[in-house]
Structures are given as structure tokens and as C-alpha cells.
């Protein structure tokens, strides 16, 4: 019994080794790095939304914490928390928070327009997700800066129909 288990274990180890090296080779070939993980290139619809919202302004990664489950078992109810350390003062503040779910039927899922009276960017809600995809939380400031946080969520049950 223990020999058998040891055999399985070595098989598993070998397989893991194989996958790791293959993944690493693939990453090396495509020039991608594991940390930090980049979201996929926006599809046509998402690219159109980003252009409409932010024009040609650079969308930089940072200042946004998008907290979502790694695995969403029920795509009908997926919790979302969006936080930011950007100031919310009278002269410098976040004017809007856009939530974009790449592979949903309507990717631009929600927009939250804020004023300094809100005091901080700390928004939570629950959303529907059709399938495994990247989610983008993109913030716009009154000075025209655009900051983003990304999360990849594995969806088990389609919540969009």
C-alpha cells in the first residue's frame, strides 16, 4: 500500500514538474512574467469601452485594490470590494469608479460617481458573472489620472443566462 502511494506521489511530482517547466517555457516564449499577472488584452468590446471612457489616456496599474474571490462557485452572486488609497479631498479626488467584466454580455457592469463628501474609495457590491474572466476596476481622478486594479475570477456556474 505504502509503495503504491509512494509511486503515485512520484508520478504526481513528475507531472507537476513537467507542467511547471512547460508553463515556464511558454511564459519565456511569450515574454510574459508571472508577477504581477497582467490581464488579458482587451477584446473588441472592452477596448471600445475603455476608449470611450478614458480616450487615449494611459491606464496605469496601481492605487486600486480589487478584492474578489479566486473561484466563484455561483456566478449569480459574486462579491466585489473596490478600495483605493487615492485622496478624497476638495481639490484632489476620485470622480468615478468603473467596473468592467471582460466576458460578460454587458462588460461595463457599473459606474460609481463620487464626490469628496464620500471621504474614501471603499465600495462593495455583488455582481453576476457569465464565465471565467478578468475583471477590471478603473478609477478616474479629477486631475485626469486613470488607475486600475485587476482580478481574474474562475466562474463555475454561469450567472448571466
Amino acid at each position: 500500500m505504502s509503495e503504491r502511494r509512494a509511486f503515485f506521489r512520484s508520478c504526481a511530482a513528475a507531472l507537476t514538474g513537467l507542467i511547471t517547466t512547460r508553463t515556464e517555457r511558454l511564459l519565456a516564449a511569450t515574454g510574459l512574467s508571472l508577477e504581477p499577472e497582467d490581464p488579458e488584452v482587451p477584446n473588441q468590446e472592452v477596448a471600445r469601452i475603455l476608449k470611450e471612457l478614458f480616450g487615449g489616456r494611459p491606464i496605469r496599474r496601481g492605487h486600486v485594490e480589487l478584492d474578489m474571490p479566486v473561484v466563484a462557485e455561483d456566478g449569480r452572486v459574486v462579491p466585489v470590494i473596490i478600495e483605493s488609497d487615492l485622496p478624497m479631498s476638495a481639490d484632489r479626488y476620485v470622480t468615478g469608479v468603473h467596473l468592467i467584466v471582460d466576458h460578460n454580455p454587458d462588460p461595463h457592469l457599473a459606474a460609481f460617481h463620487l464626490t469628496p463628501a464620500i471621504g474614501s474609495v471603499s465600495i462593495s457590491t455583488r455582481i453576476k458573472m457569465k464565465r471565467t474572466t478578468w475583471v477590471r476596476a478603473i478609477l478616474e481622478t479629477n486631475t485626469g489620472e486613470v488607475w486600475a486594479g485587476y482580478a481574474r475570477v474562475l466562474v463555475t456556474l454561469n450567472g448571466c443566462g
Binding site: L109, T115, S122, T125, K128
Partner: protein
């Protein structure tokens, strides 16, 4: 929190608020948030029916406005912060795509020091 009638809404703020506190506001409204992609068991399409606009006012000031789609889950919840700098009503108005308007408000008042 159990609510059933469409448009029934609750807003929750902390019990004890002092002037200047950064408080968290939790809100829920009862709504089916139908996407328009589903059908009934008889096979009839269920038309899209969802909250599309939320306005948050504090006193006479509009402090936030949310634009939603049917991608927000059934019985939408939202939480956000607010600087409690005056004793005034906090009002939320939810509007759906069929033109219905639902309103709820709580009064922000301070504990005496």
C-alpha cells in the same frame, strides 16, 4: 435581512456617530434585476428589468451617483463611506428601467459627547 416587495429598501448606518466620523453606509433594495437572457419554465422570455440609476444625497447635496446594469446581482446591495459632518438626512433614490422610483432615507445624527 429579509425583504420581499420590489423596491423595498433599507439603509444601515452605525448606531453611534460623532461629527466628522468616516462612516460606512450599507444599502439594499429588493429588485429582480432580470438580465433579459432568461426564460420562464414555459419558454417565454423574461424581459430585462433592473435598477439602472442610484442617487445618494446627504442634506441638500448629491454625494454619489451609481449607474448599474442587470449585471448587478438580484436584490442589489451596495456599501460606501461617507464623512458624517452634519446632522441631516441621507437619502437614496433607486430608479429602474421601467421608470419606477424607490426612495429610502435615514437621519444622520450625532451622539452627545
Amino acid at each position: 435581512m429579509m425583504i420581499n416587495d420590489i423596491g423595498e429598501a433599507r439603509i444601515r448606518v452605525p448606531d453611534q456617530i460623532r461629527r466628522g466620523d468616516l462612516i460606512t453606509v450599507n444599502a439594499i433594495v429588493s429588485h429582480p434585476m432580470d438580465t433579459g437572457f432568461f426564460r420562464t419554465v414555459e419558454g417565454d422570455p423574461i424581459p430585462a428589468y433592473f435598477i439602472k440609476d442610484v442617487i445618494v444625497s446627504y442634506g441638500s447635496q448629491e454625494v454619489a451617483r451609481f449607474e448599474w446594469t442587470s449585471g448587478v446581482s438580484r436584490d442589489p446591495v451596495v456599501s460606501f463611506t461617507l464623512i458624517a459632518d452634519k446632522e441631516a438626512p441621507l437619502t437614496m433614490v433607486w430608479s429602474d428601467n421601467k421608470g419606477a422610483i424607490f426612495k429610502q432615507s435615514v437621519t444622520i445624527s450625532f451622539v452627545s459627547a
